[in-house]
Symmetry: C2
Amino acid sequence: MTRDLAVTGVRLTPVLVADPPLLNTQGLHQPYTPRLIVEVETAGGATGVGETYGDTRYLELARPMADELIGRQVSDVNALHALDVAVDASRVDGAVGGGGLRGAQTADKLRLSVVSAFEVACLDALGKALGLPVHALLGGKVRDAVEYSGYLFYKRARHPDGVPAEPERWGAALDPAGVVAQAKAFQERYGFTSFKLKGGVFPPDEEIAAVRALAEAFPGCPLRLDPNGAWSVETAVRVAEELGDVLEYLEDPALGTPAMAEVAARLKGAAGGDGRRNALPLATNMCVTSFAEIEEAFTRGAVQVVLADHHYWGGLRSTQHLAALCAAFGVGVSMHSNTHLGVSLAAMTHVAATVPNLRHACDTHYPWQAEDVLTERLAFDGGRIAVSDAPGLGVALDRAELARLHRRWAEDDGAFRDRDDAAAMRVAAPGWTAPAVPRW
Amino acid sequence: MTRDLAVTGVRLTPVLVADPPLLNTQGLHQPYTPRLIVEVETAGGATGVGETYGDTRYLELARPMADELIGRQVSDVNALHALDVAVDASRVDGAVGGGGLRGAQTADKLRLSVVSAFEVACLDALGKALGLPVHALLGGKVRDAVEYSGYLFYKRARHPDGVPAEPERWGAALDPAGVVAQAKAFQERYGFTSFKLKGGVFPPDEEIAAVRALAEAFPGCPLRLDPNGAWSVETAVRVAEELGDVLEYLEDPALGTPAMAEVAARLKGAAGGDGRRNALPLATNMCVTSFAEIEEAFTRGAVQVVLADHHYWGGLRSTQHLAALCAAFGVGVSMHSNTHLGVSLAAMTHVAATVPNLRHACDTHYPWQAEDVLTERLAFDGGRIAVSDAPGLGVALDRAELARLHRRWAEDDGAFRDRDDAAAMRVAAPGWTAPAVPRW
């Protein structure tokens, strides 16, 4: 059987996926965002699919990694972390990935972000070869459905004139009423019972008002606000104090572990040391985005919830390690999302199903992606996705759609092959530059 | 296929295994030590085997756990940690397991020690059902052989008169010459190239002399000394300073995290803060024996190497989590051993093969166990055990031998069903009681 599990072929398909004009502190989502679809095939004929970031620097690394994969067993996923593939340091030196929204870009994180797509593809193929779902290859699910949070964004009604854009379903959301309307539409369509607002876009008082409006419209619903590190310590503490009664957690209010630690310490101090009142937890997917960043953040008490992301943590097994590590330090676990398709959502759902200490709804951009490469979209029921027990990830590629989105990438003149939220914003507002942090 | 993976039967076989008269700070190994062999069988006819401690309190817990297992998939190992089986707190309250050699006994550790045997048995059965080795179910091996350390003991020539005993191959080792002779015999027979001496038996200067004699007889060989927490901080620091040039690490020189932290801090201070000279690392399998104990020990810098033990950490997957956690904190990983048979040695070898940051030879008592329940003993070649690529653990039970060792357990009048090193010592030296710690 094991010879059947050897990888005989790897296909890399970069795609451009339509993305709505969502706002964040670094700018605006471009009309198209790059993703990479990785497919592996085994000697026994099993195929597997994975997905990761599609920016050029990821593609450059994926090609030699794909060559290294040939002949290896799809069960040998631990070894993927040690693949002998050099990372071009100039691709990360000083560069801040994804408009600064994915934390510090390092050579190691770049490598792991590519490894993760191969790991998922291998596990999908292995599962199909064995007749087992991916969660079973990860030790088995401990829940039958995974809860997701409605991911709300300030957004423009449409992309700036002069750039192509896909049909837009959601309309503008630029004030508290718009945010509440978006949440209601999300709840109606997907059944979400918790919400996260991407903040850092408007002055803090406007975002406080938006969260208050959400709290009023959805009493008792867990709420989160994530300004992507846009605030000073002072501002972060003020927002936390004003919203402490309605927030489940505050995500990356300030940039970097020292600032987060200061915010956390001040909130803890204000809550009193008597244990009768808990301070508002701080969550992060920016100051803790790799194992190397954990020690400082945990020993300084900078974060109380880590938002795992199997893409940049190096895959599904690494995500499980991270969750165990958080459990040992009494730190909560939730799940981060960057713009992604159904392949990654399926992978997220499988690993989330196996993590005992996942006690917060996961983030996902999926509702914002009208396009997908699957024959059947994953469906939310009551804000949850049922964990598939079908072999592998339980998804199938829509080859025609994959080819169409790849053609868009192939025909792109370079405008959208690398995500650049500031560039998109400049089209809307000429001369705009990403603001210095802290912005407020 | 998945229905085939459902557990249809579980067999629990307690055994008594011959054990030589090995000395430690708490007393003497009894002539027989209890172990539990767990077998599972699936609807598809696959069988799997696991092994753990066999003392009464483990057996009491294994029985209800076995009942809970029926109908579950052998792939559902994550769920084993949440089996609804109550632990009798009176079994652990104040009790110190294994003569105090396994760290603090808690209800959780007792539960996990039993879970681990079921996890290993399930993975063995799953691997056999799928045609995959256990390491492949853990993400795949990253090395083809696992290095073990020669585990040296002060020992008596034979068990005290009046108790039954199996034939004894090794003779006494009660001074430096005896320890060196034992090491040479071990090296000749098994090819070990690193050695650990179980200390805490004689006054520190005698044990220092034994380690010096080993260093002279085996120049350049990594050496370890483990007094099981028998020393004061002062003594620990003195021994570390006297043996710093020949030890790979010093294991549990003092008892508990605060004492270990003090020893580590003093060694670090003495090594100077300029980074030119590293302090002797401290290893432990006593102050860090569960995820709950990690935070304090790591943040205080109390240990530099954790000796993982899949039995009390809750299985092979938990051992991988522990290793990832250690990597994140720059703490080394090695592997602890308690008296065990070939089933556990196979399990240790599979998981050790998957841990990238395992950079120390693992401990094993296996050479001391002349009896085993396998049709073929695992073999050391150059101190290493080749990682099996056969389905499951790659071992087969010798039913006749299992039955014989179980008969010994069944016919035992209670003298040896619970390990008691102090009781054994009292037979040799009437009136003896386990010494207070620190002993020196």
